[in-house]
């Protein structure tokens, strides 16, 4: 998968069709890997951080391809391939034990939709921030101000990612009600999920009023992704992590 995605990102520079074909092959390989894990583990491979990273490594290129096709742009292809490779590489460098156990609280019909919707949202929002940051860096080195057009595609990705993030949060609330008796407990993971949602909510409000301040919009996108990463990985390293019921890694 990694090799195909790397080849795809190289091919996109010269030949779009070859890039498309290689990217689709890479995504198919990744989907095959997820299917293989699902079958061999006998449970959805979505329990640990490492498992969700594999989903991210597959969904980022997949979403990049679909949105690129939908909006007739190739700007997403190379960043999506490289981001997918990066997350696959992290998983390869730090392999996690993947045992077959699934704690009773995770045995719920909400498990798969909750995680898949979140991973799709994270993919769209991650791509959005990557594109935004890349545009900002390019402008900086060219000594140019950030242009309004630089925010167009990142903003489109937020328009896809934010409602998915809302759905993930709400599915989580429904699930928590069935599993733990209350839809919201201000558990550290839940709180960071709320903060991530609020960070993108803030971006959308600022964007509505200050669409002509692209640097501010891009800065908020990068901050939003920082909060998202904190929610996904960073929360495990906070002193409050011990209070969380959402830690399923070994």
């Amino acid at each position: 998968m990694m090799a195909l995605l790397l080849l795809a990102s190289a091919a996109y520079v010269k030949n779009r069709r070859a890039g498309d074909a290689l990217m689709l092959a890479g995504i198919a390989c990744g989907a095959g890997l997820l299917g293989y894990l699902w079958v061999t583990l006998g449970r959805p491979p979505m329990r640990t951080l490492g498992e969700t990273r594999w989903w991210y490594a597959v969904l980022v290129p997949a979403l990049g391809f679909v949105i690129g096709w939908r909006f007739r742009t190739r700007a997403l292809a190379i960043p999506a391939c490289l981001m997918g490779c990066l997350f696959a590489a992290i998983d390869m460098a730090h392999p996690e034990a993947m045992d077959k156990t699934l704690m009773p609280a995770l045995q719920s019909p909400w498990f798969v939709p909750h995680v898949v919707v979140y991973m799709l949202a994270y993919s769209a929002l991650g791509l959005s921030s990557l594109l935004g940051a890349w545009a900002g860096v390019q402008r900086y080195f060219r000594h140019q101000p950030v242009a309004v057009a630089d925010v167009d595609l990142p903003h489109r990705l937020v328009m896809v990612g934010f409602p998915l993030l809302s759905c993930g949060l709400i599915f989580g609330a429904f699930w928590a009600k069935e599993a733990w008796g209350h839809y919201w407990s201000w558990d550290p993971k839940e709180t960071w999920a709320f903060l991530t949602w609020a960070a993108y909510l803030l971006y959308l409000h600022v964007r509505t009023r200050h669409a002509l301040k692209p640097a501010l919009n891009l800065a908020l996108l990068v901050v939003g992704f920082g909060v998202l990463m904190m929610c996904w990985f960073g929360v495990n390293y906070l002193p409050t992590a011990r209070e969380s019921v959402h830690t399923y890694s070994q």
């Binding site: 156990t101 709180t191 002193p239």
Partner: protein, 411 residues
Amino acid sequence: MEQSEETNARRAGFWEGSLGYPQAVAVALAAFAVGIVYQWRIPRMPQVPFSIAAGICAAFVVIVGFASLRWRRTRVMEWITGIPFAVVSIVGVMLLAAVGAAVPEATLRARFGMQSAYSSWPFAMMLFVMLTNLVGVSARRMWPLSFRNVRFTLNHLGLAVTLIGGVMSAAGLERSNLVLELGHPTAMAEAVDGKPVPLPFQATLRQFRLASFPPTLALAESDPKAPDGARITAGEQFAKPGLTERIGPYSVKVLEYLPRAAKVGGVWRAVNFPTAAPAVRVEVSDAAGHPAAAGWVSSGSVDTESAFLPLGEDRALFMPPPRPREFRSTVAIFRDGRTEVREIRVNQPISVGPYRLYQLSYDEKMGAASEFSVIEVVRDRGLPVVYAGLFMLLAGAALFLWEGAREGGSE
């Protein structure tokens, strides 16, 4: 634009010119200050009855909604329902939520006497500021309602309804733990603070069942740098006869697997009592394929000692306690002169009148032989309001996604 707003404000007095971010920040800071004073004077938020909380919420919605419509063209109402006010309230709520997310509750309790950052007065005041904006702007957009405003209204009103439902939930939530012992009827639960809570039904635990996953093996290596002084390499495969698995540098072959075993006269034998432990007989080879050790490994249980296999001076093969696959309680509920036998499992609560009963825990030391089961009893009168808000938000998200996915879709 903001610069001219600020200049105007300076010229005409802080509150007399056009209202924007500086004034919104001032309001948020004032709300925070009021919250701090309340927190200092009344550290524990008083618990108000559900009906009063619902009445206050309804009055709040009516007053803010009416004011927003009645004075919709005034600069104050445009500002309260505008984006600067929304942005500042979002930032305020985020900052206070971040404090709760980063600082453990025990620290907040010890240093500031707070039960939690989210039940503190400053947080409540910031939510009040946010809700004022949300309810006001929802009323403005709802009346007159046009198709163009449906998405906006669903998202804003949905969030407002969810938050108001949350406030009502906080007032009307009854949560208690019902400790059911096998064969002993009880109608008395225990609240979080230890106070007894009488229930309008009686429950008796008829049976408690726990099923565990088959055990896995793991390698422990002495490592002074590791948090517990040992580095653990976990095996991934469930133990079964004939299984060969690489764990760290070793190849481990399972020769025999006894799901329920005990050491009888120095020999591991299959037994049939619920507190027995799983055990496996293994053969371990090192990286070069040379035999390293052989013998029995067991997680042990309350009745059975654990067994591990030493591999040199600083390594050992051991069996972590098997993880529970599911646990369930069969409970007889006596209510209104009738007895009903129901089963409660994790993720599958049951309803008894207005209460929901959740499988919470059991005697983890005894495992499958646990003689009691802990059931959480929950009654949440604010839940219908919260769910109404969440469904509105879901509908709003669907419209958002649809518009976002449209080529040239509007913001």
